[in-house]
Amino acid sequence: MTLTPGATGRLALIGLLGGILQLTTVSQVAIFGVPADLSPLLVVAVGFLCGSAPGALFGFCLGLFIDTALLQTLGVTSLVFTAVGYGSGRIRELRDPAHGLAPVVVGAVGTAVAAIGFATLQFLLGVDAPVSFLLARQILMVIVLNTLLALPVYAVVRRALLPYLPEDPRRRRRRAYTTGGLSPLSRA
C-alpha cells in the first residue's frame, strides 16, 4: 500500500482512537482476571493489510503514543511494536495467506511476540522478576483473549482502510457474480 496523505490520516486516526479505547476502557475490563490488549492487534492488522514498512511505522508510532500517555520508558513499546508490525507485514508479503482465519493466527502470534518481547526487554532493563507461573498464565490469557478479538479488530481496521488498499482479485470476482444479475454461464 502506498502511504498517501489520506491513508496516513486514516492510520493516524486508527492509532489514536485504538490507543485511547485501549487505555480508557479495554484496560479496565478484566475477563478471566486479565484485560485484553488491542494495541498489538491493531499493529498486526495494519501490518497484515498494508505491508511491512507501513506496519513497522504504525507500530512505532502507536508504541510511542502508549509510552507517552502512560509515562513509561520511551522506546520500549515502540521497539516491540515495530518488530510486530514489520513481521506481520512480511508474512503477508511472503506467504499471502488466503484463508479467512489467517488474521486470527497472525493476531495470536503477534500478541505472543509483543508480550514476550516486552517481558524480555523489561528483564534486559534490569527488572528483577522471577518467571512465575502466574506471569506466564497472564501472558497466556492475554494471548487467548486477543485471539478471540483478532478477527473483529482486523475487520474494523480493514473496513477503515478499504479505500486505500490495492484491489483484491478475490473480492472483485465475488462482486461480479452477485451484482450483474446474470452469471457468466448464462451470458455465454
Binding site: 485511547i20 479505547l21 485501549q22 487505555l23 480508557t24 476502557t25 479495554v26 484496560s27 479496565q28 475490563v29 478484566a30 475477563i31 482476571g33 484485560p35 490488549d37 494495541s39 511491512s52 514498512a53 513497522a56 511505522l57 507500530g59 512505532f60 508504541g63 510511542l64 502508549i66 509510552d67 507517552t68 500517555a69 502512560l70 509515562l71 513509561q72 520508558t73 520511551l74 522506546g75 520500549v76 515502540s78 521497539l79 515495530t82 518488530a83 514489520y86 508480550a115 516486552f118 517481558a119 523489561q122 532493563l125 527488572v127 528483577d128 522478576a129 522471577p130 518467571v131 512465575s132 502466574l134 506471569l135 497472564q138 501472558i139
Partner: protein, 291 residues
C-alpha cells in the same frame, strides 16, 4: 525496482529500530526532570482532556462488560462471603467481650490517630486511564499539582491503600499502584503488630509480599496488613498509620524462619478503580501529635 523496494523497506525498519533504541537509551539515562520526561509530561497534559472525555463516554460499555465479568465471579464470591460471614459472627462475639474491656481501659490509652482521613486533606479524583501491561501497574487521575497533589502522596479508596503518586503535572497525576514494581511501604499485621514491608511480588501480578518480618511465624492466614505509619521523626513514612493494605492469603514455609514468604492480597480492587482519594497532607497526624 524490486531491489529498491527491498532496500527502502529495510531502511525504514533499521531507522525505526535505531530511533527506538536511541529514545530508550536517552530516556533511561536522564533524570526525571530531563527533556524527554518533560516532553512526556507535556504530551500527557494535551492528551488528558481527550482521555478523560473518552473515559466518561465509554463508561457505560465498560460497566456492561464489567457486569458480565461480575456475574461470572458472583457465585464464587458468594461462597467465600458466606464462609467469611460465619467466621465474622464468631469474631463479633469475641470482640463484644473485648470491647467491654476496652471501654474500661480507653481513658488510659493515648490515641495516636487523631481524626479520620479529613486530617490528611484528601483530594478526590477520577481514574481515566491505566497501563495495559503487567509491568507498569499505573493509573492516571484527573487531578494534579494545581490541586495540591505532589509526588509521593498516598492514594486510597474506600477499600484501602491503592498506591502513591509517581509523577505529577499541572492537571494530572500518574499513580503507581501497590502492585507496581517500584512500590514499597512499611506495614504491620493488625492482629499481632508484627512490623514488615509490603512489596509487590514481581512476576506475579496482583500479589504482594509481606517481607522483612522479624517474627514471621506470628503472622497467620487471614491477618489484615495495615500501614505502619511513621515510627520515628528520623525516618518518616509517606503513609499515615492504619490504612488497610490487604489480607494475608497464604504463607509459604521454607527451611528456616527467614524463608517464609507471606503473600498478601490487596484490599482495594486495583482492576476496577473509578474514584480515588489522594492524601495531600500525609504527615498531618505527626504535626498534630507534636506539642
Amino acid at each position: 525496482m524490486h531491489d529498491k523496494v527491498v532496500r527502502r523497506r529495510r531502511a525504514v525498519l533499521a531507522a525505526l529500530v535505531a530511533l527506538s533504541l536511541i529514545l530508550l537509551t536517552a530516556y533511561f539515562g536522564e533524570s526525571s526532570g530531563g527533556g524527554l520526561h518533560s516532553v512526556q509530561r507535556g504530551a500527557l497534559e494535551l492528551l488528558a482532556p481527550v482521555g478523560e472525555g473518552a473515559n466518561r463516554a465509554l463508561k457505560p460499555f465498560r460497566d456492561l462488560f464489567g457486569w458480565f465479568g461480575d456475574t461470572l465471579d458472583a457465585k464464587d464470591e458468594r461462597d467465600k462471603l458466606k464462609a467469611e460471614r460465619d467466621r465474622l459472627r464468631q469474631e463479633l462475639a469475641r470482640k463484644e467481650v473485648e470491647l467491654r474491656e476496652y471501654a474500661e481501659l480507653q481513658g488510659l490509652r493515648v490515641q495516636n490517630t487523631a481524626g479520620g482521613l479529613d486530617a490528611y486533606q484528601p483530594v478526590e479524583s477520577r481514574v481515566y486511564q491505566r497501563s495495559p501491561n503487567q509491568w507498569y501497574q499505573t493509573v492516571t487521575i484527573t487531578r494534579g499539582s494545581s490541586d495540591g497533589i505532589a509526588v509521593g502522596d498516598p492514594v486510597v479508596n474506600g477499600e484501602g491503600l491503592v498506591g502513591k503518586v509517581k509523577s505529577v503535572s499541572d492537571g494530572n497525576a500518574v499513580v503507581a499502584l501497590l502492585t507496581d514494581q517500584d512500590f514499597g511501604v512499611s506495614a504491620e499485621a493488625s492482629r499481632s503488630g508484627e512490623p514488615g514491608t509490603i512489596i509487590p511480588a514481581v512476576g506475579a501480578p496482583g500479589d504482594l509480599i509481606f517481607d522483612l518480618v522479624p517474627q514471621a511465624e506470628e503472622v497467620r492466614v487471614g491477618d489484615r496488613i495495615v500501614t505502619a505509619g511513621t515510627k520515628s521523626d528520623r525516618l518518616q513514612s509517606l503513609y499515615p498509620r492504619s490504612i488497610l493494605i490487604g489480607t494475608v492469603k497464604r504463607i509459604e514455609t521454607g527451611d528456616g524462619r527467614l524463608d517464609r514468604r507471606i503473600h498478601v492480597t490487596p484490599a482495594a480492587d486495583l482492576r476496577r478503580l473509578d474514584i480515588v482519594q489522594v492524601l495531600t497532607e500525609p504527615q498531618a497526624q505527626l504535626a498534630q501529635a507534636r506539642p
